[in-house]
């Protein structure tokens, strides 16, 4: 899909953020998406950590794209990605130990997050550094937004709060299952249905508009 042509910053960025949103369109990186999203804050933290790794691994891999031999590219990518994951992991252990404890193994598992592999393989390996940077930033923030949305919905129903603030009326009895595994799967499924419906409606609208212009 990504042709090795010149790409300007903004379209690539928006492509990652909206059009090819990693969670709702590409269905990548499902484990952290479901695993850590019991509170909106965790979603933001996980998203930003992933974005950091994604941006820098995309940048480095793009810079090295003509040096790395094709045969050993996978191990090479892994080393680059794993280095950044280790950096962010150690950083969080030092400065945000509580958050690190909540996110747990999932921080280490950013290394096998398929978003990062997929972008390295299908974008950074074929595009110049600036575009790769934009792609990483767009994809990363797209990922952050969607998992924060998922986390917020689960937090509202599962704890009655959003970013720790009480949003549900006082008599609300939190629906504990939203914080557990089934709640994660089902909420994401329902959100995906909603996104698909919105997309379809939007597509129909824009088609109608085109027809109006033609007429």
């Amino acid at each position: 899909m990504a042709e090795p042509q010149k790409k300007s910053f903004l379209p690539v960025f928006l492509n990652g953020l909206i059009t090819e949103n990693p969670t709702f369109t590409l269905m990548l990186g499902m484990c952290p998406t479901l695993g850590v999203t019991t509170a909106a804050m965790n979603g933001v933290a996980m998203g930003l950590a992933t974005t950091f790794v994604l941006v820098f691994s995309n940048l480095i891999i793009s810079l090295l794209r003509n040096i790395i031999p094709d045969k050993v590219r996978i191990p090479a990518y892994i080393v680059v990605i794993a280095s950044f994951v280790t950096m962010i992991d150690l950083f969080m252990q030092a400065f945000l130990p509580e958050l690190r404890a909540v996110l747990g193994t999932y921080i280490q598992l950013i290394v096998v997050n398929c978003i990062i592999f997929a972008r390295a393989e299908s974008f950074a390996a074929k595009n110049p550094p600036l575009a790769s940077l934009a792609d990483g930033l767009g994809m990363g923030l797209g990922f952050t937004c969607s998992i924060t949305l998922l986390a917020a919905v689960r937090e509202i129903f599962g704890s009655g709060t959003c970013f720790g603030l009480q949003v549900m009326p006082a008599g609300y009895q939190p629906m504990a299952i939203m914080n557990m595994v089934p709640g994660g799967f089902i909420t994401l499924g329902v959100l995906m249905i909603l996104v698909n419906v919105i997309k379809r409606v939007a597509a129909r609208r824009s088609e109608e508009r085109k027809e109006e212009k033609l007429a």
């Binding site: 009895q173 629906m175 504990a176 299952i177 939203m178 557990m180 089934p182 089902i186």
Partner: protein, 324 residues
């Protein structure tokens, strides 16, 4: 809906068994247990049954209207789901519990997968499990019946299953617990439709006589629980019998494990299904967090059903082996 013409291979058997008729039979079979629930737990039980049934039927109606589909509430299956859901709720629960449960059962478990026959898990049981996990405090506190010694808050201290678990662990004796007769007629704490075993057995026999349910599933399920308790308790006959008569085992075995859409189709498959249910009921009751494992056991076997079907379905004559 578009399938106006039935294109199936022969032989074509004409039968008067329609979904509507079957579901009406199930409703008749369920009636005694509901009446017993109202007798033992009062008007509150009737309110929960009504809210649950109305929510289920309305959810199906509204969804089908919104989607522009043919309205199928006339087949009575939503009523059955509503009844079964209500029977799994303690009579003290607030009325929003059956409402939330009804929407989960019909919308999430049944309609999203294509309506009747397409769901792969029993809607009422799934809804009950979700409610139980979410609001364990409400779903897990059982009221005493109107004929028992009243407590200050109307809730019972220990259910028959909890008593039996202590007997099983050697911490109590059978004589301290609920008597066999009380267990049988339903004068014991529990969710509103599961306590009266007499009513459930009547309904169960009706289902089997009317050829609505297959006896293999309930018999193998209940038998497995009985035999396993017999073997592990050193042939304590009284304990094993009380385990069979406690909790939701009979209700689940006769009315929920026999659901057509979510149980295997071949005879061998049905026996495997029943034994599997019984085994998991025993394991959960004896060793897991939850005091009652009947709903989770049936749900787990629902999930396994497609695989059981896959490996036990009789092959058509002359069919070439495809998987190898």
């Amino acid at each position: 809906m578009q399938k106006q013409l039935a294109i199936t291979s022969c032989p074509h058997i004409r039968s008067r068994k329609t979904t509507q008729r079957i579901m009406q039979d199930v409703c008749i079979a369920l009636a005694p247990a509901g009446i017993a629930g109202i007798v033992f737990f009062g008007a509150r039980a009737a309110a929960i049954i009504a809210v649950s049934v109305i929510t289920c039927v309305l959810t199906e109606l509204v969804y089908e209207k919104m989607m522009g589909q043919r309205v199928t509430i006339g087949d009575w299956s939503a009523v059955v789901t509503g009844l079964l859901l209500a029977y799994n709720i303690p009579a003290t629960a607030p009325l929003w519990i059956p409402m939330v449960g009804g929407v989960i059962a019909i919308l999430l478990v049944k309609m999203l997968f294509g309506g009747i026959g397409s769901n792969f898990m029993n809607p009422a049981l799934t809804a009950r499990a979700v409610l139980f996990v979410s609001w364990g405090g409400i779903m897990g506190s059982y009221p005493v019946t109107r004929f028992m010694e009243q407590t200050a808050d109307g809730l019972s201290g220990a259910t028959p299953l909890a008593e039996l678990a202590r007997v099983f662990a050697g911490q109590a004796t059978l004589a301290e617990g609920t008597g066999l007769w009380d267990l049988f007629i339903g004068n014991c704490p529990g969710v509103l439709g599961e306590t009266c075993k007499l009513a459930i057995l009547l309904g169960g026999v009706w289902l089997i006589l009317r050829d609505v349910a297959d006896w293999k599933i309930p018999v193998s399920m209940i038998g497995t629980v009985f035999v396993l308790y017999l073997l592990t308790s050193g042939f304590n006959f009284g304990l094993s019998l009380r385990e069979v008569l406690s909790g939701g085992l009979l209700l689940g075995a006769f009315f929920m494990a026999t659901d057509y859409a979510t149980s295997p189709q071949s005879n061998l498959g049905r026996v495997i299904f029943g034994v599997g249910c019984g085994l998991i009921v025993f394991v959960i009751r004896a060793y897991a967090n939850y005091p009652e494992g009947c709903s989770f056991a049936i749900l787990f076997m629902n999930v396994v059903t497609p695989l059981i079907d896959r490996y036990t379905m009789p092959k058509c004559f002359g069919e070439v082996k495809q998987h190898g």
